[in-house]
């Protein structure tokens, strides 16, 4: 076990200091707090600085879009937030827990309980039915079979796929596959829902349909962080963070003018 679980108080204090130093309101419900988070890739001697120090704080129930040019580090940041990857340096608190020095098993648990991740390429198990795919996080959470079925069915119904439970991914359209992936991401009621270009592999009609799903989830109070290239998709979000060369270049709350500026910047 990593030391932070033995001394939660000092880390909480540290986190609060980080929040105060960043000029954030300490009484708000910050579900994600990162401080100077970095990620280097060692490419055979040459080091690629994918993230050069990112400070980001996200409140519960926020709907955040992450934009930026290709190679700016969006996916790298998402993978770190989603605990699929570990930072080279810096701290990351998720729901008050210092994730950046957790053990393997603790990370697995965080991925299982706190995070729902939606990928551009869906990442469904090809041989499993839609229902079984959605059940997987519950399997690793140790939920008994009966309840697993019930909750997975519910999650599928939530994305209007109740009638496709027994279909395998290759029997579903792209949009349907992505909705299965969303159902899977939601089934454990995670603290945050992450999506890295969730509509990147879909046509515009299907994209709009998927965006409506995210929109309604956000309206219901789900914390959503989404990477996108498309300005009209980002326009749905209440906050737009723009990355450039591994750093945050702008971070704007929704307000028509500011958003327009952010979108203009991102389009560069």
């Amino acid at each position: 076990m990593s030391p932070h679980t033995d001394t939660p108080v000092s880390h909480t204090a540290e986190r609060e200091a980080v929040i105060r130093n960043a000029g954030l309101a300490p009484d708000e419900d910050w579900v994600i707090v990162t401080r100077n988070i970095q990620r280097d890739y060692d490419m055979g001697g040459e080091v690629v600085h994918a993230l050069r120090g990112v400070d980001l704080a996200i409140r519960r129930n926020e709907y955040v879009a992450i934009m930026g040019p290709s190679g700016s580090g969006k996916s790298t940041l998402m993978n770190l937030i989603g605990c699929l990857d570990t930072p080279t340096a810096g701290e990351y608190w998720l729901n008050g827990m210092l994730v950046s020095d957790m053990s393997d098993d603790e990370l697995a648990r965080v991925r299982n309980r706190e995070i729902g991740f939606v990928f551009q390429t869906f990442n469904l198990l090809p041989r499993a039915t839609a229902l079984h795919n959605v059940e997987l996080p519950l399997v690793y959470a140790g939920v008994p079979s009966q309840e697993r079925k019930r909750r997975a069915t519910q999650a599928l119904e939530r994305v209007q796929l109740g009638d496709r439970a027994t279909h395998r991914p290759n029997e579903l359209s792209g949009g349907q596959r992505q909705r299965v992936a969303i159902a899977r991401a939601l089934v454990n009621e995670p603290a945050i829902l992450l999506a890295d270009e969730p509509t990147g592999n879909l046509d515009s009609g299907t994209s709009a349909e998927i965006m409506r799903v995210f929109e309604s989830l956000a309206t219901e109070g789900q914390t959503v962080i989404m990477v996108t290239h498309e300005a009209d998709i980002a326009a749905h979000a209440k906050r737009i963070v723009v990355l450039r060369d591994g750093r945050i270049s702008s971070d704007e709350r929704r307000d028509t003018f500011a958003q327009r500026v952010a979108l203009a910047q991102a389009a560069h």
Partner: protein, 432 residues
């Protein structure tokens, strides 16, 4: 603080190997086995063949061993019995050198019998015998090879031979060398299939002998009948057909009433014969004294070699199979790296992935071992059917085979699984 979930609450699930229930894991394994048919086929094949041969080979050897102890030793030698011969009857690895030295040894003679028997306590039974394969015939039947014995003393008692009909050779017939014989069941059936053999004539070396008794059925050893024999008096002309030189015999058989009596007797006979052959203390014996144990020791030597071969060869096969399985597993895991990435991204821990692969390997190996057991038992039964070798399946070989087979399957599934389970989710997800 905001709805903080302390990660301590992860503790209860730590007690279990995995949160995935066992049946679930088996079901998953079976579907995976079905999905990766080639990998499954080779794993099954490797384990099945290894287990099958191990069981079958050990069964055959075991069968021979049991036969040796129960049938051969008892039937042909008898307990607390030892024989004096000029060279060993049961001997392995006879070099040309040894063979020549055996040939130079003085033979055992009829006149050795009296001094030998005199040196022994009166409770010891004795017999002399010469034996060889020679043809016998009747007036109207073609000759046929049988095991012919020329004997004297308590031959029938020592060998536990009883008549089914007629009588044994009487003392006065032994003394006079009467031309009478008793015959085994096979000889009776061969020459007198429908009529009684008693009082009839059997020609041995052109000389007619009168049949006075037919012996009880003995059965067979290694599928060879031991009922194909005739026994006549040592003093009859028969002896000259078996050992040309007059007075030469194959050996003296001695039976004591106890193990200790046998051991003492063997030492006394040794001293008597050393004296008769005028051996100086430094010279080795130039005769052989053998017991039932010699026969069993002889067998034990063969058996050890056979068992070694019977275990080492299939085990080698299993090791080769393991390497093949491991390679196939590595490929299988590489193909499934993305699946491992997906599972890890959804919260599977290292041990979840590991146990998934282990259950898969174990399920496959168990199925393979089960097939192997059935085929091995079948093969052993087949060998017993079509060859004279009796085969009986040894329980320990089944256990060993299953442990080996399943072990090989599990270990070869373990290594790639352990590698796969260590991957970072994002690394695994990036692979195509």
């Amino acid at each position: 603080m905001s709805g903080v979930t302390p990660s301590r609450s992860a503790s209860p699930s730590r007690k279990r190997l995995t949160d995935v229930p066992f049946l679930e894991a088996i079901r998953l394994a079976l579907s995976q086995i079905r999905a990766q048919k080639l990998k499954s086929f080779f794993t099954l094949l490797g384990v099945t063949i290894g287990v099958m041969f191990l069981i079958a080979v050990v069964a055959v050897i075991n069968g021979m061993g049991r036969y040796m102890e129960e049938e051969f030793a008892g039937k042909l030698m008898g307990v607390n019995t030892f024989t004096l011969r000029h060279r060993p009857y049961f001997e392995m690895h006879t070099t040309d050198e040894e063979w020549r030295s055996f040939a130079r040894r003085p033979r055992i003679y009829l006149h050795d019998v009296e001094p030998v028997v005199k040196a022994l306590p009166p409770d010891i039974m004795w017999a002399v015998e010469s034996r060889d394969q020679i043809p016998v015939s009747t007036k109207d039947m073609r000759p046929r090879d049988v095991e012919a014995f020329a004997v004297d003393g308590s031959f029938f008692e020592i060998r536990n031979l009883n008549v089914a009909s007629g009588r044994l050779i009487a003392p006065h017939e032994f003394a006079s060398g009467a031309k009478v014989v008793v015959i085994g069941q096979d000889v009776k059936k061969r020459f007198f299939p429908t009529t009684s053999a008693l009082g009839r004539e059997l020609r041995i070396g052109g000389v007619p002998y009168r049949i006075i008794g037919v012996m009880e059925e003995q059965g067979s050893v290694f599928g060879l009948s031991v009922d194909k024999f005739v026994v006549g008096p040592m003093n009859s002309p028969l002896a000259r057909l078996l050992n040309r030189r007059f007075g030469v015999i194959d050996g003296i058989i001695l039976k004591s009433s106890s193990m200790q009596g046998m051991r003492d007797g063997m030492e006394r006979v040794r001293q008597v014969m050393r004296g008769r052959h005028k051996l100086r203390p430094a010279q080795p014996d130039n005769f052989s004294i053998e017991t039932t144990e010699s026969a069993l020791t002889f067998w034990a030597k063969i058996e050890n070699i056979l068992v070694m071969a019977g275990i080492v060869l299939p085990a080698l096969g299993l090791v080769v199979g393991a390497i093949v399985i491991m390679n196939i597993m590595l490929v299988a895991v590489a193909q499934r790296t993305r699946e491992i990435g997906i599972r890890k991204s959804l919260g599977a821990r290292r041990r979840d992935i590991l146990s998934q692969f282990l259950v898969e390997a174990a399920t496959l190996s168990t199925i393979g071992a089960a097939f192997g057991i059935l085929l091995g038992i079948g093969l052993a039964a087949l060998v017993a059917q079509i060859s004279p070798m009796p085969a009986s399946v040894a329980p320990w070989s089944v256990v060993t085979a299953v442990i080996l087979g399943a072990g090989v399957g599990i270990i070869s599934g373990m290594y790639p699984a352990a590698r796969a389970a260590r991957l970072d989710p994002i690394v695994a997800l990036r692979q195509e």
